[in-house]
């Protein structure tokens, strides 16, 4: 089960498992994001390449407008996925 919502401080809170079956929900939400934002992955257990595609697409759109995403509280497994994908050079990432 995957969930995505704005937290009280304005950060985007993700939780659960972001697999290919949940991408439409994530994409719809991220398409509504218009400014620089923080994605809080403290409760996100899992992400696959389908989720990476959404992050990449959103970052390209925001950076072209002078904005961008910062991803915080990334667990070790997702951090490995980011590392193998070369995401450190295109996102600001903080681990847990």
């Amino acid at each position: 089960m995957f969930a995505i919502e704005f937290g009280e401080n304005g950060d985007i809170l993700c939780s659960g498992r972001l697999d290919a079956a949940e991408c439409a929900k994530a994409q719809d939400f991220m398409d509504s994001v218009s400014g620089s934002s923080v994605l809080d992955f403290a409760q996100l257990e899992y992400i696959s390449s389908a989720g990476l595609g959404i992050l990449l697409k959103t970052q390209k759109r925001l950076v072209s407008a002078g904005e961008g995403l910062k991803i915080i509280n990334v667990n070790n497994h997702i951090h490995d996925v980011f590392r193998y994908s070369g995401f450190h050079s295109i996102f600001e990432i903080e681990t847990q």
Binding site: R17, D19, A20, A21, Y46, S48, S49, A50, L52, G53, I54, L56, K57, Q59, K60, V63, H77, D80, V81, Y84, S85, G86, S89, I90
Partner: protein
Amino acid sequence: MAGMHHKLTILRSYWRGAHADDTQSMQKKFTRSFDSLGAIYEFTEDVLTSGDVQDAARFPVHLAMEELFTNMVKYCPGNDNEILLDVTTNDGDVSVVITDYDVDPFDVTTPRDVDTETPLGRRIPGGLGLHLVQHMVDSLEYDYHDRQSTVRFTKESG
């Protein structure tokens, strides 16, 4: 190609035979759809829990399972055949065999042309799935014969 199939058979015989007392194994067929991913996760998690597989190995197994399964769904959408998953654990190590029937060949062991140093402006979403699998599992094998694709991967606990 016949040689690859023979090698795969030998490996599976060794895995199941040498440590039979510690082995947990389950097979199940799943509908060719992204909607199967939740059930695949539950099925795999049940086997990993029964086999007392450590957390460090679970994430890569689930990731490889999803990427390989969705790859089969994406590249053969008109096929109604179910996809067979076979998950085996032995002393914390995991072996998975995924079998797809009546399909064209797609060798998932072929290195992917993914440049992870490409600047954001030239990055194209997609293509990372098999790249991740190839880096995060300990072995990956592909066999094709009689229009049947078989993918086997392993992940050790250490």
